[in-house]
Symmetry: none
Subunit: 238 residues, 4 copies
Amino acid sequence: MSTRQSKSAKKSVNHRTRVGAERREKMRARLLESALLVFASQGVDATVVDEVISTAGVSRGTFYNYFRTNEELFSAVAAEVSNEILRIVDPLLLPLTDPAARIAVGIRLVIELARKHPPLAAFVVRGGPAAVAAGGLATEYLPRDLAAGVESGRFSTLPPRLAYDLVLGPVLAACHTVLTERVPADYGEALAQAVLQSLGVAKATARRFATQMLDVTELTADSLFERADARATSLAGE
Amino acid sequence: MSTRQSKSAKKSVNHRTRVGAERREKMRARLLESALLVFASQGVDATVVDEVISTAGVSRGTFYNYFRTNEELFSAVAAEVSNEILRIVDPLLLPLTDPAARIAVGIRLVIELARKHPPLAAFVVRGGPAAVAAGGLATEYLPRDLAAGVESGRFSTLPPRLAYDLVLGPVLAACHTVLTERVPADYGEALAQAVLQSLGVAKATARRFATQMLDVTELTADSLFERADARATSLAGE
Amino acid sequence: MSTRQSKSAKKSVNHRTRVGAERREKMRARLLESALLVFASQGVDATVVDEVISTAGVSRGTFYNYFRTNEELFSAVAAEVSNEILRIVDPLLLPLTDPAARIAVGIRLVIELARKHPPLAAFVVRGGPAAVAAGGLATEYLPRDLAAGVESGRFSTLPPRLAYDLVLGPVLAACHTVLTERVPADYGEALAQAVLQSLGVAKATARRFATQMLDVTELTADSLFERADARATSLAGE
Amino acid sequence: MSTRQSKSAKKSVNHRTRVGAERREKMRARLLESALLVFASQGVDATVVDEVISTAGVSRGTFYNYFRTNEELFSAVAAEVSNEILRIVDPLLLPLTDPAARIAVGIRLVIELARKHPPLAAFVVRGGPAAVAAGGLATEYLPRDLAAGVESGRFSTLPPRLAYDLVLGPVLAACHTVLTERVPADYGEALAQAVLQSLGVAKATARRFATQMLDVTELTADSLFERADARATSLAGE
DNA sequence: CATGAATGAGGGTTCATTCAT
DNA sequence: CATGAATGAACCCTCATTCAT
């Protein structure tokens, strides 16, 4: 009997634990979505906690059960944003081996994401370098591809950091642009082409890499970005 | 005698007025220098007034005799920075007519200024688009030259905003870079060349425009930037 | 069991809610008491927040959790004072139907309250018309009784506003007097009689109305005024 | 020759002194007018110096050449107001010997002044007791007449302070009323009559005293009040 | 774990007063 | 004596963080 009891108790504990963990995860996600929106619309240094908890509809205390400080929240959002982008971009880069192709596709995807999800664009723009530096895309994938491209002669011989600036600069500027202006549908392609040219790729080749087919439909189903968009919409509707 | 008296009185009033105006101008300049330093080191949204007044060594009240709000201060600094840059760059652009040459020189000069004056670079980086959009260089000169280059066939046919992003993006990224990394002396030239290539200029031509002789000695004598540097140095020494 | 759980949860929530509301109410009362004292001793336009919070022994933030501005605080105090006076006076006026009797009793009660509770008198005097106009006594009861008295011929035919001035003027002046001078115990009666005479009531009749028995013992047990007095005493003792 | 010289020098000094004193007096008057307006419209505890100097059109420093503190300014205005009122009222009271007549005329004159000069009324209302207590009318004339009236049997036997409240209370209330409401032309007469009744004067007698002929035309020519009115008008017109 | 009242350091702004010109 | 820039104490208000329930 003690066995059964302990079994059932264990099971119940397991169950409780699992349910609890799930609920915790959900709450955390909810707070991150709200925080993304708040950072996006108010900037990084603005009042944050009040906004986040009212956006998320939870109490102060709850918030501090998940993030101990403001900065921890920002880092968590930045990390989550980076992860999410990588999760979306990685599968599409996987089949590509030519660095030029990978960079062109990466640029186009990021621009596309920024277009589709204004809060994401706003977060990147307002968060500045810190929001970008957190993620693997800019800190691992991009340097690696740039180095490979120089190595293979695909790109001109450029100092690594210069090449980095030549890619990231235009992309961040474009995030700002898609947020504030109406731009043609092929903005990403044109930007990718120009960036490749700046890296030393001939115009025709650059065009070819930049305009290859790319299916961006349903890229972001159920991502942090979708959920943030949804939350933003529902808030605006109230 | 009454005539002489009134004359002398008038003179005295004029004198007082002129002296007063000069002192006012000096104090304003002093506050702007300090504010540039503060914005540069703490960011745009940080505590400002306290820092500025202690940097400038004046009282709280004095600050508010010159700027009524935080934003007013930021705008004033941004405007002054823009003016100062233009004052430095304009004479050197004047003799140049080819848009590619003008843009290359403009890029190199800005990078050079950023290298020489870290506070300026930091202000631009932290202030973001708003710090740049205030000035004539980015809002008038650059668009005009880009349009002229496209018109004359010197550049590819690009949407104006895209061309703008292709220039400003790398320049801002480079400002960040020169602030945080050690870069070779020809960073500006290399960047200018790459940017021209991204605009469609052939590599060899781009190199030629980007490497033409440019004397940057004594560019900034007695400018806001020099004075801010000096102030920063004296503060650090204390 | 789930039923019982949810029940108990509900109960607990209710309990928490109720306890919270009670605490909130207490804090609010405490702040109002302190504010009454501060307004009374420093005047209406004086520095308030600092004084109030140190008098109440709470933090700055707490204050702003209850009142967002100075004015909001003043209005709240004025309203509370009015309510409190009405709560005390109303039961004693209820059995009286003759306007002269009602006004005489009202005047005597107010004077008596002012005598017993210097902070109240001071608040009324320093707050001026605004402190009085907030309440039902001066804005509803008094005009109504005056109109009724004129209607019934008990009073002379006077413009409503004039009659109002003839009552309120002396009462406010008397509040000032009882605060600064020692006055005989029958000051209120004498004042009430004189006011009735100014309204046209014959001297003997006015005397009769003004001197009828009135038990003012224990009028104000546990009122805002008592608590304010107590707080003032404890502060003075420190 | 030395004699002549010294004579002429003396004369010149005298002249300069006299001219200086006159100019000083004028400036002082100008500041007092402005201050009266400011106290009237902003209250006693409001920002004062800035308002006064901009109303008077002089510099900060000049202000402090005439009044060393805020309070000194207020006292000066209150004193000047009292003097001015007395200067106007005294000649008209001079021929009257019966205390009832003197009080009735005094009340009517004050009400009339308040009607004609809203800034005066506002100053009295906002300044409170302190604004009134400064002057001879309320502190000397009134108590003396009240005592004489009681002595001679014209009034009931009342404690001095009570009688004082019975006169000053209604008058102050009426100042407030004439400032905020439209009242009939005979408001002052009616008030005076009622006040006399409250002091124990029979209705018919009170009416007689309160309605005796009184010429109030041109009472205040070139007084502080006229000048303040004029200044207020010219400011409003700008 | 959720809640929300309480905290208090921190930042912005005003304004009476001084003082060199 | 007029001027107005400079001063700094005093205030108001916010908001990240803590903690008892």
